[in-house]
Amino acid sequence: MGLVTLASRGIQVHRSRLGGAAGAAAAVAVAALALPVVRERILRFPLDFAAFLLFVLILVAFWTIPSDFTRRMRKNPLSVIGFSLIAFFVAVALLAPVLAPPPPTSRDAYLIPQRGFAADPQPPRPGHPFGTTEGQYDLYYGIVWGTRTAFRVSILVIAIAVAIGLLLGGLSGYYGGKVDEAIMRLTDIFLAFPGLVLAVTVVAVLGRSLTNIMIAIAVVHWPIYARLLRGDILSVRGRDYVEAARAAGAGDLRIITRHVIPNAIYPFMVLSSLDMGLIVITAAALSFLGLGPDVGYADWGTLINLSRNWILGRPGEPFAFWYVLVYPGTAIFLFVLGWNLLGDAFRDILDPRLRGSA
């Protein structure tokens, strides 16, 4: 009982705080809109801006509509930090063309514009707020658009891995027997490689490119999802309500979609949010090993690879080129940290075994 009142009081406090924050954000937004540069950029990319507004709406709705989930989340400051970090990165990704508009001559917005071609990185200066890297690629632009790349890579990989995992894990768990045995041995085979090693091999064979990196990482990640779903199905299958549904004449597909998958969603959310960060790290590691996209593509791993020759600074000035590592390093760190915190939060909230001990 005490817990409930405490929680409801928490909500009230949060509402008022959120109101203040929203007001401040709105004020900043209005001020920003007053600037002709901002208006012009928004008019140039109305769809991206609309997507951003939609995201803000969803975010506000999610955070204000009371639910067990958000209530639990608010109790842990680390979870709130994780949630905010990810919300921030989503906003940056959606607003990328507004924050860093591609030059009019650009043929692919993901290609970072170059300011000259010289090797030595140049420090932050007007027009290049984060400085420029080796080859004079603009770091700010690379990091903003690299956010989109990070989401694209991690979401696509998760989508592929989850799709394969759902299909094979579903078949395995539902039909059991020989199908199960065969599919589980298949996962054994894929799990017989440390993730990075298999990914390195796949990229080496298929060739260097972002698409191949995504394929390589998806190949590494699907078995975990398949096993997870299989385990869930096995635990659900014997339960009374499934037996009842079956007795009532429900078909296999209906049982899977109505009863099994809804139950598996939470563990999938936990696992995939923890995976998002891991995927971005693996992709960056491949870029670091020289197996990533071409230099000049907006990708954090590639940017860090460009910093390799400069992290030691100049003689007497050990931190002369701090910006080449600090900016992309911070971006990747915060992104991964956000997902890790969020994943931990999801686990604490959604994992029923730990719930009781809270």
Binding site: L78, R185, L186, D188, I189, F190, L191, A192, F193, P194, G195, L196, V197, L198, V200, T201, V202, V203, A204, V205, L206, G277, I281, A284, A285, F288, L289, G290, L291, G301, I304, R308, I311, L312, P318, L325, G329, I332, F333, V336, L337, N340, L341, D344, L354, S357
Partner: protein
């Protein structure tokens, strides 16, 4: 338990077979001309590429090619690694001992510190030490290993000149190589060999070179262990027998070390062999950064050089180690978990 292990052993060849099929299937994505490249040793042979494709049967049905390839693999002919400039088999024998040594040097601190930090966090749950541990472990795993590696190299070698890259310093390397000194490589592990040969300074030198990469590996890999240890410990601390011990007035440190931690270690022991497997993946990055002549640096270099026989040989070897590691994990699990042991 015997049945459980026997079942695992039966499955081993199945998985091994599957690994070869997977690797071979991957190779099928390559153009026959590129696969023929594995048999090419100088540019002028390129003109005769069709002849090479025919000679090695690369235009034959897939299952025939697979059989040919498998036979070669099993007779130990893994091809020629252009990146290592030696046959793949020889490269593995050459590069594995340094990696094994590095792995062991990272493994010990990971286990000791992981258990210690995990226990401390669980015992002082939701207090400062728990939060600090969590923040540390989450930060460690949120920053990519190559950033850690570069930072460690920068500070410990560039600034402090403590931990140089490579495997041995010049003096030690020349001493070991010089036949007059009769330095015998009993194990291939430099630290052990140095002690067996009675050369303490080489032992110290080897440690200095191992410290940097081992430190990096430790930072990156410790998080998982801390988390498993913490939750395992939490679970055990809630068990009836621990409560009983406490209520009987057993001193708290004794409860923790004797009663709780012993049982909480079971999942950690299972995890230990998997940690070694994880480290084998981690060495690809670390060895590259520290220029440490192990299997990971070779694998990464082979991938960059598109040395396909090298990459496949490296991958298959690591897969073999991983399969054995998984088996060991299963056995340890079966041995320590009474539910299975008593079956």
């Amino acid at each position: 338990m015997a049945g459980y292990i026997a079942r695992r052993l039966v499955l081993l060849p199945v998985v091994a077979f599957g690994v070869t099929v997977l690797i071979f299937a991957l190779l099928q994505f390559l153009d026959p001309a590129i696969r023929a490249g594995a048999f090419i040793t100088n540019p002028n042979q390129l003109k005769a590429i069709d002849a090479i494709i025919r000679k090695y049967g690369l235009d034959q049905p897939v299952y025939v090619q697979y059989w040919t390839w498998l036979r070669e693999v099993f007779t130990g002919n893994l091809g020629w690694s252009q990146a290592a400039r030696m046959p793949v088999g020889e490269a593995i024998l050459r590069f594995f001992p340094p990696t094994l040594e590095l792995t062991l040097f990272a493994f010990v601190p990971i286990m000791l510190m992981g258990v210690w930090m995990g226990t401390a966090a669980a015992v002082h749950r939701d207090r400062l030490i728990d939060h600090v541990t969590r923040v540390f472990s989450i930060s460690f795993r949120s920053l990519p290993s190559f950033v850690w590696g570069l930072l460690v190299l920068m500070v410990t070698y560039g600034r402090l000149n403590w931990f140089p890259p490579g495997r041995l310093s010049l003096e030690a390397d020349l001493f070991v190589r010089n036949p007059e000194h009769r330095f015998v490589a009993y194990t291939g592990l430099m630290t052990v060999d140095a002690l067996l040969n009675g050369q303490l300074w080489i032992f110290v030198d080897a440690i200095r070179h191992l410290a940097g990469p081992a430190l990096t590996l430790t930072m990156v890999s410790i998080a998982l262990l801390v988390r498993v240890m913490r939750s395992s410990m939490l679970e055990v601390l809630n068990q009836d027998y621990v409560r009983t011990a406490r209520s009987k007035g057993v001193a708290e440190p004794v409860v923790i070390t004797r009663h709780a931690r012993k049982n909480a270690l079971i999942p950690v022991i299972t995890l230990s062999s998997l940690t070694i497997v994880g480290l084998l993946g981690g060495v690809v990055i670390t060895e590259t950064i520290f220029n440490f002549p192990g299997i990971g640096r070779w694998g990464a270099f082979a991938a960059q050089q598109l040395d396909i026989p090298g990459v496949t040989g490296f991958t298959m070897f690591v897969a073999a180690i991983t399969v054995l590691g998984n088996l060991l994990a299963d056995v340890l699990y079966a041995y320590f978990d009474p539910r299975i042991r008593l079956q």
